[in-house]
């Protein structure tokens, strides 16, 4: 088989190839989960960690930003795992959600959104300060990056932070998202993340749609719609308050 043959076979059917590869990967990871870990680590958690490892390999070998999708053969991953299909699938999980559960957790969900955003911002600012940053724009931008990797650059651009600081804020947000993906299935039980109400609170506290989506999928798929519903408002809320209220408060403190 020469490369021209492979290119026309796979290159012209990138999405289908992604379906096949993800299918094989899922099968292997679920078998690993069942036989090697005796079911202690959920198959989807294993698959997501392997996915992240593949993303690292893709990024490290090509220097690109799209993980494994930067390798031409695996370009279909960007389509399959892109925002369009992800959001479509997240919306579909709302089918079967119980209205009473939404009502019950509604107010606490909103409250966790505010607390989660403020807390992540403060943690980001504190870490930036500890690493020697003193100017308001940089501190605010890195704080916003700890909210999500979208809020960071939106804030940084709005208040005129340097591109290095903006890149750092994106990195902080991506680390957060990955940390949520990996830590959630392990921390869920001890921290009481076992029911719809807790999932709504969790989504509001963590935000990062991709992180909570993957973290909950690997914990208990029934939690997904509740967590995703609050998490989906998090980035918008962060983009709203970080460059405005956040920046004003930071200016009052650091000048």
């Amino acid at each position: 088989m020469n490369s021209a043959f492979l290119t026309s076979l796979i290159g012209d059917r990138p999405l289908i190839f992604a379906f096949v590869v993800v299918g094989v990967l899922t099968w292997l990871c679920y078998a690993f989960s069942k036989n090697i870990t005796k079911g202690r680590i959920h198959g989807s958690a294993v698959a997501i960690i392997i996915g992240l490892a593949l993303a690292y390999i893709g990024g490290a070998t090509t220097g690109g930003k799209k993980g494994i999708a930067d390798i031409p053969m695996f370009a279909g991953f960007a389509l399959m795992g892109g925002a369009m299909l992800r959001d479509f699938c997240i919306v579909s999980t709302a089918y079967g959600v119980k209205l009473e559960e939404l009502k019950k957790a509604g107010l606490a969900g909103v409250l966790s959104l505010v607390i989660g955003t403020a807390l992540a911002f403060v943690v980001g600012v504190a870490v930036a300060y500890a690493f020697g940053y003193r100017d308001t724009a940089s501190l605010t931008t890195i704080g916003a990056g700890a909210v999500t990797f979208i809020v960071g650059p939106v804030t940084g651009t709005a208040i005129g932070a340097s591109s290095t600081v903006i890149a750092l804020s994106v990195a902080a947000g991506v680390v957060k998202s990955i940390a949520v993906m990996i830590m959630t299935p392990f921390l869920a039980k001890p921290f009481g993340l076992t029911n719809p109400a807790a999932a709504m609170v969790y989504g509001g506290l963590m935000g990062t749609t991709s992180g909570t989506a993957a973290g909950l999928a690997a914990t208990d798929a029934r939690l997904v719609p509740y967590g995703a519903l609050t998490a989906t408002f998090y980035t918008g809320f962060g983009c709203l308050v970080c460059p405005s209220i956040g920046f004003i408060i930071m200016k009052a403190i650091f000048g």
Partner: protein
């Protein structure tokens, strides 16, 4: 027909995203403010009504359930396309800020969930 379920799902997404985008324009923020959340709420409120009227038979429901079942594979593909290399090369400041903000928020799940009624919260499908 399966396509009817997919169509309902797609319509919910377009209406929800329109709300999110309109909010963004009104608030002067580039992008979509919780469009997916509004789409989900729409689906939550709309489908029981459609079901009651008998407009959402099993086949149409399967159109929604297919995407529901594709969710984890899509998430795996999404994980494989994250910018992991950049996240790790951002250095300690990115890694510490990212992880610390997650750990701090985890500690708050229990108290806030208690307020949200976690004690009586169920999926409704336990035996």
């Amino acid at each position: 027909m399966i396509i009817y379920g997919v169509m309902v799902l797609g319509l919910c997404m377009f209406v929800g995203t329109s709300i999110g985008l309109t909010l963004g324009i009104m608030l002067g923020i580039p992008g979509d403010i919780g469009g997916v959340g509004f789409s989900m709420l729409l689906l939550v409120f709309l489908t029981p009504v459609l079901k009651k009227k008998g407009w959402l038979p099993k086949a149409s429901e399967d159109g929604i359930m297919f995407w529901n079942a594709m969710y984890i594979p899509v998430v795996i593909a999404m994980a494989a396309t994250q910018n992991v290399a950049a996240a790790l090369s951002g250095g300690w400041i990115a890694i510490i800020a990212g992880i610390l903000s997650v750990v701090v928020c985890f500690a708050l799940i229990r108290p806030l969930a208690a307020m949200a009624g976690a004690a009586t919260s169920t999926f409704g499908d336990e035996a």
